[in-house]
């Protein structure tokens, strides 16, 4: 167990170091750091001062150490566009993205599991086939296009939902939250469904596959033979056994949702960090790009680590496999 956690910790650390190297060299070797990190509107004197201040006259490895040292202190430089600390700008946008991602996550579970369960229990019914066909569609639909179509139908043609923005939000414990107001909820609905679409398909497929496997197991046959009601068999025996893999995958998908919110946020003009990064790339606001990449790497590594460890606690076979390999 401890070896497992140590190994995962080491791996996570290595990932962060590797990614910091990639980002650093991406900026310093592929691009010109003077262009990337220093505001192009500076004059010659300011430019030289900035080069000194950023340590760009030092050898590369020293620059990297400076970069790491600053990054550890949360200093990624100032945004060219907003003139504020890049890290601060991103962190301000995090709650909006997380709200969107979690809503989508919950939606995918609430919608996906019952549909997958149904498709798994009655694989030959036409409803199941429709569900599975829909899930293939869900994998193939371009998220951004679905978003546009949703705006067209619900905002432009029917006029029932607002097309863009976040709407009215409440501040609770320093966090801005929009799902507690009616207006905020209306704004949240479309982006969340849009983001959840792919995950709903995934959950349906996972649940269906798990159900079909579990139903054939002896203990389920036995439970039926004992005369337990179908409902009880499904709720207790089937659901319990498919939940672990489904929940793990969903946990890992949280990171994916955060990454894909880039698309949804752009379509619906949702003021999260994904919208910020796209705007920054287009406006060449490099400090924000660098900070975003490092933060997202850190988030991913943390999510993966937590899910891995939780999973190994839930399912001891994972640890054993790891020892064997």
């Amino acid at each position: 167990m401890s070896v497992f956690i140590i190994r995962r910790l080491l791996q996570s650390l290595m990932v962060i170091v590797a990614m910091s190297l990639i980002v650093f060299f991406g900026v310093n070797v592929i691009g010109n750091p003077v262009d990337i990190l220093i505001n192009p509107e500076f004059d010659q004197e300011e430019l030289e001062r900035a080069i000194k201040a950023l340590g760009l006259d030092l050898p590369l490895w020293q620059q990297y150490l400076v970069f790491v040292k600053n990054a550890l202190q949360g200093d990624f430089g100032k945004s060219f566009v907003f003139g504020q600390s890049a890290l601060k700008l991103i962190i301000q946008r995090v709650p909006a993205t997380l709200e969107l991602a979690f809503t989508a996550l919950i939606m995918s579970i609430i919608i996906g599991i019952p549909l997958g369960l149904f498709a798994g229990l009655k694989p030959d019914s036409s409803v199941s086939k429709a569900i599975m066909g829909g899930s293939i569609l869900g994998f193939s639909l371009p998220t951004f296009w679905v978003g546009i179509m949703m705006i067209m139908i619900f905002a432009v043609m029917l006029g029932v939902l607002p097309s863009t923005g976040r709407g009215q939000s409440l501040t609770i414990m320093g966090l801005e939250i929009s799902f507690l107001t009616w207006d905020g909820l209306k704004h949240l609905l479309m982006p969340a469904i849009n983001l959840a679409l792919l995950k709903i398909s995934l959950v349906i497929r996972l649940t269906r596959a798990g159900t079909r496997e579990v139903v054939l197991q002896d203990y389920v046959k036995f439970a039926r033979a004992k005369g337990l009601s179908t409902r009880r068999v499904i709720l207790v025996h089937v659901l319990k056994n498919i939940l672990i893999p489904v929940v793990t995958v969903i946990g890992l998908e949280l990171g994916n949702l955060i990454a894909f919110s880039v698309v949804t946020e752009t379509v619906f003009a949702w003021p999260g960090m994904g919208k910020l990064i796209i705007d920054s790339i287009q406006m060449l606001d490099r400090p924000i790009i660098v900070a975003y990449l490092m933060i997202i790497v850190f988030m991913f590594v943390t999510i993966n680590l937590v899910v891995d460890i939780l999973y190994s606690v839930l399912d001891p076979r994972v640890r054993l496999q790891d020892v064997k390999a």
Partner: protein, 310 residues
């Protein structure tokens, strides 16, 4: 003991066995055609490839020849006629381009970028995966660390990172798509190569003193390619989708190479005034392309993986 008794030939037996083996290709075809939806999807996909390849011959107009388009024909709804009398079946965009022609050209760009990046990624991933599996040890664990590292991040994020550093351009998005895909191929190839490598025919090849290169490329590789077909079809669909997404976000292809994603993005701003067709039809084309590839890929996987067959 009759140690030196003569060895007889057994022709009847082998002829019988031969019949069973000779039909494996035919069986593959019949298994595949069992699913009518997949056959339909394959037809659709072939039609799309045809349209993409011959876009310049079958399009009603060349949408990027400024002599052929007229801004006065801009934003016409579907089935309206131009001043010169041609019918725009899918309407026109803000520049007065025939959407049907723009979609044909867009398909060419989207499929081209998807197929090219997929092919190069397949070659790179196969070589890397084979190297990892064949040499094992440190080489293997180093490569697999890298693969795991990359696969723990969503594709869109990797592409975003690269494009943020590289900038826009056809070759840049191809590089980004290759970087996103190679790891899937490498992992698939390594997995099946590890299984194959432990088989005796590889050891026999060692015994026959063949060079490592010969063993890897002549003996190992042909046996690890089949699972790649499945990964390949799915990956091309992913690549096309990812490219259109990135182009939509404005960080993919430049406006001079309009793929379907860019067409959709162009129409987005006219959406709110109800001019749906500029975004709608390119999206439908993209959807049909991706769905048909996915359906073909699904059926291929079912046919090639006997475990999933009933």
């Amino acid at each position: 003991m009759s140690v030196t008794s003569k060895i007889e030939l057994i022709p009847e037996l082998s002829a019988e066995v031969a019949l069973e083996g000779e039909t494996s290709l035919r069986r593959f075809v019949s298994d595949f055609t069992e699913n009518k939806v997949a056959v339909g999807a394959l037809m659709v996909f072939l039609a799309i490839v045809f349209v993409a390849v011959f876009a310049s011959l079958i399009s009603p107009q060349n949408p990027y020849d400024l002599a052929e388009i007229d801004i006065l024909n801009g934003r016409l709804p579907p089935r309206s006629e131009s001043m010169s009398g041609t019918t725009y079946w899918l309407g026109t965009d803000d520049q007065g381009r025939d959407m049907l022609s723009a979609i044909f050209y867009g398909l060419r760009t989207s499929l081209g970028v998807g197929a090219m990046s997929g092919f190069i990624a397949l070659c790179i991933g196969t070589c890397i995966g084979l190297t990892a599996a064949y040499f094992g040890g440190r080489v293997d664990s180093l490569i697999m660390r890298l693969v795991d590292l990359q696969l723990s991040f969503p594709a869109i994020l990797i592409a975003l990172m690269l494009l943020a550093v590289l900038g826009k351009g056809v070759e840049k998005i191809i590089i980004a798509l290759i970087a996103v895909q190679w790891a899937y191929y490498a992992r698939t190839v390594r997995g099946s190569a590890l299984v194959e490598r432990s088989k005796d025919y590889i050891e026999a090849a060692h015994c026959l003193a063949f060079s490592n290169r010969r063993i890897v490329f002549r003996h190992l590789m042909p046996n690890v390619l089949p699972p790649l077909i499945v990964v390949g079809t799915v990956q091309v669909a992913h690549a096309i989708l990812l490219e259109s997404t990135l182009s939509f976000l404005g960080i993919g292809l430049p406006v001079t190479e309009p793929s379907l994603g860019l067409l959709i993005a162009n129409g987005f701003e006219y959406m709110l005034s109800g001019k749906y067709w500029i975004s709608f039809f390119p999206g439908v084309a993209l959807l049909i392309t991706v769905v048909s590839i996915n359906l073909v890929g699904d059926q291929l996987r079912d046919v090639l993986n006997p475990r999933l067959r009933r």
